[in-house]
Symmetry: C2
Subunit: 431 residues, 2 copies
Amino acid sequence: LEAGDAPALAQLLEGMHPADIADLLEQLDPEDRRELLRMWGSELEGEVLSELDEGLREEVIAALSPEALGEAVRELETDDVVDLVEDLEEEQREEILAALPADDRAAVEQSLAYPEGTAGRLMQREFVSVPEHWTVGDAIDYLRAAEELPEDFYHVILVDPRMRPTGYVPLGRILANRRDVPLKDLRDESFRTIHVLQDVEDVAYVFNHYHLISAPVVDDDGRLTGVVTIDDAMAVLDEEAEEDILRLAGVGDESLSDRISEIAKARFVWLFVNLLTAILASLVIDYFSEAIEAAVALAVLMPIMASMGGNAGTQSMTVAVRALATRDLTMSNAWRVIQREVAVGALNGAAFGLIMAVVAGVWFGMPMLPVVVASAMVLTLVSAALGGILIPLALDRLGVDPALASGPFVTTVTDLVSFGAFLGLASWILL
Amino acid sequence: LEAGDAPALAQLLEGMHPADIADLLEQLDPEDRRELLRMWGSELEGEVLSELDEGLREEVIAALSPEALGEAVRELETDDVVDLVEDLEEEQREEILAALPADDRAAVEQSLAYPEGTAGRLMQREFVSVPEHWTVGDAIDYLRAAEELPEDFYHVILVDPRMRPTGYVPLGRILANRRDVPLKDLRDESFRTIHVLQDVEDVAYVFNHYHLISAPVVDDDGRLTGVVTIDDAMAVLDEEAEEDILRLAGVGDESLSDRISEIAKARFVWLFVNLLTAILASLVIDYFSEAIEAAVALAVLMPIMASMGGNAGTQSMTVAVRALATRDLTMSNAWRVIQREVAVGALNGAAFGLIMAVVAGVWFGMPMLPVVVASAMVLTLVSAALGGILIPLALDRLGVDPALASGPFVTTVTDLVSFGAFLGLASWILL
């Protein structure tokens, strides 16, 4: 296929959805990708650029001729252009903005003036608004006469004379009613506006929570400035969950097309933090080295304690981090959730304490070892539960993303407690 | 507030969105919840039931009188009723179905006949379809005359005489065109149908990937049987990401309103699997107990190796699990991704090997210890990378959810390699 047959290639790509072409570009290795862009880049649609992984956009944009790029970009809606250029370097951004018609360019620049991560960046400028006193007939006539309508719109927004939205009417209701019915009577009760500076994560939450399809965006004076649609909200929700998963595992915003050196560097940071907490835990072990010299069984068993503590802590922490993100965990039920976690930790601590007491007794046959193992297990799992819930809550209160920072703190707590409790009890009771 | 003032309570809840009432019910403690339902249950809307956590639905439904329940359920669309009853016990399900009008009941039962997790369960039966040869005017007249329309619809679906969908027209285009324009000319190119037995995760992927708003569902004969809308697809996408996060952490489908014993039991299973892998690792340590007796520094340092291996493995594994879920990782680029992971593991292995060699040298001053530490670190991080990518890939091939099962396998690999390599090299070189 990549054997230089340009017409065959063009024909093949012609019928493909832009999202699939973007996937294809992501999956090709860098050489094939350059080759494909060289042969076919001039026909690349703007939507393919929107669909591409952020890491690859720069590379692909650089590979396109200025004419091909300009043509591709002019097809896009303003919110897609904003999304496309916001992470680009100054030079490429300028190149793209210069290719736009003057009014689109102004709209994009206005959106870019809002801070990153706000509704102002997410919204599209294309929307349909009509005076609130119009009837169904007025709206139909207006829409039929309109020269350019947004590609997708689901509501007609009603505005007062000062362009402040006062409600919206789903298109289905306009179609289902007679021409003389006032639009006011068809307003949908789901209507709610979004402030232009609202955080995109809040916007996504509101869409998901109230099952919105689109929502008008207003500025400080309450005037209509744009519309956020559900597909954009869905993308934010998706990214947010993705981000949480990767952050919990200590991986940054990496994607499969990133360079090896970048990935190694990003993961290094997390592993380095982990190294520091591990060394801290080793200092505890070192402190009890006499006990280990006296009974090597302790060295054999202690990684089990640490592993159980780490896993139990991760369970509590993950539940807490997600419940905070979905707003199921709030200050009003935090106390109840903390009690619940401690109860779960105590229950499982008792269960595993019993199991491990039997295992240790059979394995090493030292008289008091089972007592040490069981008590240390209870202490470890209870403090893992406490750390797993309190640390995300505290970070959230401090305004730090709990998904990003909880891990190392929780690990530190579970390591210190598991090694400390086990070896401490052992030197006290056994020696 | 909960001091028995029923009218004040009713007034307060009156103005609230069903999703917010459901949240309130979830956050109350069980006693207050029962009290609230006793005082106000008769006015509870069906949508509140839909919005409730699955764990709580049974409890709330049991607390409602049959009349209140019947009234609540009759307000819902068929897909919401299906979602509501599919996880209920036989008895409660019967009670709800009995409260529905005959035709709705038949539609719900038909949907329930499809296997769980398929488009048939997700779709709503309410849709708007018209003959493909109609014009804009025909469609408007039909919609105006229709007695009952779906609450939300975004397209008019075109069907052939055998009820097979051949395209769809966005409502905005119907509104924007003259009465004599044939609907055929306004068809949207995003049109694609979904088979009634298609997996809901695939459906969500298709919606997200192709930016669909709604899609017709067809049976084996290609006949239109329902419609899936974006809000349902969004909910599936959200649940799926949530599920992955929780599964990766070894937590099942738990929610904050579950009972303590249930949570403890679910988490116990995962911790038990982890205990077995930890004991396996301890057997390796036990095998080298002579080395530890000879140099207690080994016992102090070995948890560091295990911790670094575990974390690096989790990083690779999480990236692989998510890339599989989002279909960025496929058999066609797997080889490239594996090479990449190994390269990242080798780079970070070298970096941390160097750091730890210095730390171990300064700390314990044993001549060959730094060499042992550095070599073991490289081996550990490379095998963590390999395990982190190969295990999810293998599980995916075997049809097992990689999010659910990868963790214990990856931990086993990293534990065995880190303890084995470190202690093995130590007894070979040092003793």
